[in-house]
């Protein structure tokens, strides 16, 4: 039976190799005896039961798009979910550039073949648009940590709800402008901070301005940059479970960042109706793998790894936040329980969560592992 292990690349101690709980009534995993069943029992019917329950309850997914204005974030979201999530914003014409970063969230319920998905898209207009972009990532980190905080508060209530509403950001899509050179300092700063708090998927935006060769070179340089600065984007290498996952994820990692083009208009090409951008020199088909890598992004985000994104957010990022939160009153340095997704260089401060949250944090402080002796 496979279990998700947090394989820790950075710190020496495996966070799962904890000392066993002092409560004697629990064995960490009991001695199990394998048994052969001589006939059909019907255990696998539990899968159907699971499906029925899940479909009745519906799914939730929260995605955040970050990037400078004009990179086609809203269009991308519309293309991804094939619906008019956003009215694509076009600034100018009397609408002033937002002075500060504002976060906008939109929630929709979309349904397909009986599967209901409550989708929340958070946009960040104004990111990186100012002259001085110092600390422009703070509002974003603050928002993400605020969602974690909300979930934590709900979780530690005495009487808590049956199903805690999940507003945590599951995936953050970062749009890299297609300069063709390499990652800019702003990109690097932002990615470094964010990839430790949330799953980040970088994409090359407006990739139709690069030729295929330029694209490949750009991608290579970006990958180099990411490696140099120790930025682990999704899918994280240290969280690969087994061989199958490794193989699948390596293929994905080779192609990150995807070069995408967003379009929400339809055109007729060879008698088919396709989504694409029409230019004087041709029509760029969004869903054509030869033209751009949008299908890869869509498959990663929606068709194959959506549940995985949610799981990693819940099991890794949220737990990290929780540990940090519950420890902070003890002013402990980061212990071995912290899953190091990226070895932090000395200059990078601790996650900006507590700085951004307002007021005295209402935190639940439990005694540590041996809580029985206190109570």
């Amino acid at each position: 039976m496979k279990k998700r292990q947090k394989k820790n690349g950075g710190s020496p101690m495996d966070p799962l190799r904890q000392s066993p709980s002092p409560s004697s009534s629990r064995a960490s995993s009991p001695r199990t005896l394998p048994c052969e069943m001589l006939g059909y029992v019907g255990i696998e019917a539990v899968l159907d039961q699971l499906k029925i329950k899940a479909m009745k309850m519906g799914f939730e997914f929260n995605i955040m798009v970050v990037g400078q204005s004009g990179l086609g974030k809203s269009t991308m979201v519309n293309t991804l979910f094939k619906s008019k999530m956003w009215k694509s914003t076009m600034l100018g014409l009397g609408v002033p550039t937002p002075q500060t970063l504002q976060l906008q969230s939109v929630t929709h319920v979309i349904e397909e073949s009986g599967v209901k998905l409550k989708l929340t898209v958070t946009d960040t207009p104004g990111f990186g648009d100012q002259i001085n972009n110092d600390k422009c990532w703070d509002p974003i980190l603050g928002y993400i940590n605020e969602q974690y905080e909300q979930y934590l508060q709900e979780e530690i209530l005495i009487t808590r709800q049956r199903h805690i509403p999940d507003t945590r950001v599951h995936c953050c899509v970062y749009f890299v402008p297609p300069t063709g050179h390499c990652l800019r300092p702003l990109d690097i700063e932002f990615l470094q901070r964010l990839c430790r708090t949330v799953n980040v998927v970088p994409v090359i935006a407006r990739a139709d301005s690069l030729t295929i060769e330029e694209r490949e070179a750009f991608r290579h340089r970006i990958q180099e940059n990411l490696k140099t600065h120790g930025i682990e984007v999704y899918p994280q290498k240290c969280l690969d479970e087994d061989v199958n996952d490794k193989v699948l994820n390596s293929k994905i990692r080779e192609r990150i960042p995807f070069a995408v083009v967003g379009a929400d208009r339809e055109h007729i090409v060879n008698g088919r109706c396709v989504l694409g951008r029409k230019t004087k020199w041709g029509i760029i088909e969004v869903e054509n793998m030869a033209h751009c890598e949008f299908p890869l992004l869509r498959d990663l985000l929606i068709r194959s790894h959506l549940q995985d994104l949610k799981d990693i957010t819940h099991n890794v990022h949220y737990e990290n936040y929780r540990i940090f939160r519950l420890n902070e009153s003890h002013v402990l340095p980061r212990g071995p329980g912290w899953v190091n997704l990226a070895p932090a260089p000395a200059s990078v401060p601790a996650p900006a969560g507590p700085q951004a949250t307002p007021g005295p944090p209402k935190v639940c402080r439990w005694a540590k592992d041996n809580s029985d002796e206190e109570f």
Binding site: P15, A54, K82, K87, V109, L117, I158, I302, H314, W366
Partner: protein, 516 residues
């Protein structure tokens, strides 16, 4: 510009559609763009606003967040499959607790249910108390792996005094909840790999008397119904005839209802399974037979029990309800049992436990209580108590020492007094003795003087005449002188004086003798 008509092709020319959201909303009902702008100039307020946005979203969802139709196949209908794959890789676990008297066929039923032979020897009837025996097995069917834990009571109902029979069971169930709660409250926890040992289903075996429930059964079920999902079953039901069985079932259900025992009801809220669950609910408690022997009936091998008067087939619905039990327990409601355990029984336990520890969500002023504050307060209280106790003990110690000291001092004083008294006595006696000795010495000296004077007189008298009398007196005196131990008395003094002196000396000697 009115393009939206509920058709498939939704996406239109959006370049001209620069109209504000309000007109767009009024234009179509199918498309809604619920933009909730969050403006926050200072950073500190942003998080708060973020919370507001979240609550806005929540409210919108509550108000019926509008569905947006899709223009094409997006592909998230694979989500249930993704979820299932993830569950498969994690594995399932299911824990069954079998409560029933010894010899009712608990182990056999488990073997029959899961089509395998679990290890274990039958229990004796001589157990001094109720114990629980737990075994975990790894079952695999196609690609689904199940970690099955079967817990059985050993010695239930065998004692003469059965008052405490239910206690080990309740303690065991609570211990599993406690272990999960401890894991959940840890700072560094691994909930997704935690082996869930909480009991998901409790099969309560009722003895097939045919009359009614035993009081032991009622008491035990009443204690367990708020902690675990109870499914009562009639064991060894081939001992009851069909007509007796219906009466028995009716009696049991009425007794359970009248005593307020809440047994597990199969869920009827989902249309797919509502029907079958509804009918099954009417058949509770299930009358089951367990058997691991296979007999050839017709041309198939079936699990059955052979009697001289016939064969009872386990999987024949007309003979017993075993198939129904298997359907309900495993094939239809396993997930629901697990969910009820987690969301109802475990939450109840958690709530009670946390309230017992003194944590509240809101204090009397209905301000949300910070758990940290509560914790600090409790901790300070506890430390304060400890300090008080320490003080008390210290004071007691000091007091005792003082008392002991006083006692000792008194004793010392007494001793001193005694010593003084004795000393004084001794001195008095010594003084008396010395006085007497002195007086005696005085008298001896006086006698000596008189003696010398008398001798002088005698020497003068003997010169005058009267030597005969002197001779007689000399003899007398010689005999008398023998008695006398007076040193230096060679001369014979006159007889009268001598006798008087002798008498006096005699008396003096006597005195000295008494005083020596």
């Amino acid at each position: 510009m009115g393009e939206v008509g509920g058709g498939v092709v939704e996406l239109r020319d959006s370049s001209g559609g620069r109209s504000p959201p309000s007109t767009q909303r009024s234009r179509s009902s199918a498309v809604s763009c619920a933009v909730a702008p969050v403006s926050a100039a200072p950073v500190a307020a942003l998080a708060e606003a973020g919370a507001m946005a979240a609550t806005d979203i929540a409210r919108q969802v509550g108000e019926g967040c509008r569905t947006v139709p899709l223009a094409g196949h997006v592909g998230f209908d694979s989500l249930p499959d993704q979820l299932v794959n993830q569950s498969i890789s994690q594995g399932f676990c299911f824990n069954i607790l079998c409560v029933g008297e010894t010899g009712l066929g608990k182990s056999t039923l488990m073997d029959t249910l899961f089509n395998t032979k679990f290890e274990g020897e039958p229990a004796t009837h001589t157990q001094p108390g109720v114990q629980l025996r737990s075994n975990t097995y790894d079952l695999q069917e196609s690609n689904v792996g199940l970690k099955l834990t079967i817990v059985s009571t050993v010695g239930f109902g065998d004692q003469i005094n059965k008052e405490d029979s239910y206690k080990p069971i309740v303690e065991f169930i609570d211990a599993q909840f406690e272990a999960y709660l401890q894991e959940e409250l840890k700072i560094r926890r691994v909930l997704h790999t935690y082996h869930d040992s909480r009991i998901h289903a409790c099969l309560y075996f009722i003895a097939p008397t045919g009359h009614s429930l035993k009081s032991l059964d009622l008491v035990t079920m009443k204690k367990l119904d708020s902690k675990v999902n109870i499914i009562p079953i009639i064991a060894k039901s081939d001992a009851i005839s069909k007509s007796e069985l219906t009466k028995f079932k009716i009696k049991i259900t009425s007794e359970l209802v009248s005593n307020g025992v809440q047994i597990y009801q199969f869920p009827t809220d989902d249309e797919l399974v509502a029907e079958i669950n509804g009918t099954m609910n009417a058949h509770l408690p299930f009358a089951v037979i367990g058997s691991t022997e296979e007999l050839k009936i017709g041309n198939k091998m079936m699990k059955a029990r052979q009697y001289p008067w016939g064969t009872v087939q386990v999987e024949n619905e007309a003979h017993c309800d075993f198939v129904k039990l298997r359907e309900m327990l495993i094939r239809v409601n396993m997930e629901d049992l697990r969910e009820q355990t987690h969301s109802r029984h475990y939450e109840l336990y958690r709530r009670c436990k946390l309230e017992e520890m003194g944590f509240k969500d809101t204090d009397p002023d209905s301000k949300p209580f910070s758990l940290q504050e509560t914790y600090e307060a409790k901790r300070n209280e506890f430390l304060g108590e400890l300090q008080k106790k320490e003080e008390e003990m210290r004071q007691m110690f000091v007091q005792r020492v003082k008392e002991k000291e006083a006692e000792l001092k008194e004793a010392e004083k007494e001793l001193h007094e005694k010593f003084d008294r004795l000393k004084k006595l001794h001195q008095d006696e010594k003084k008396k003795l010395e006085d007497k000795k002195k007086s005696l010495d005085d008298e001896v000296n006086a006698f000596k003087q008189r003696k010398t004077a008398a001798e002088l007189l005698q020497s003068q008298g003997s010169q005058a005449g009267g030597s005969q009398t002197l001779k007689r007196d000399k003899e007398k005196k010689k005999s008398k002188v023998v008695h006398l131990s007076m040193p230096g008395a060679p001369l014979a003094p006159p007889a009268s004086v001598l006798t008087a002196a002798a008498n006096r000396v005699h008396v003096l000697l006597l005195k000295a003798a008494t005083w020596s």
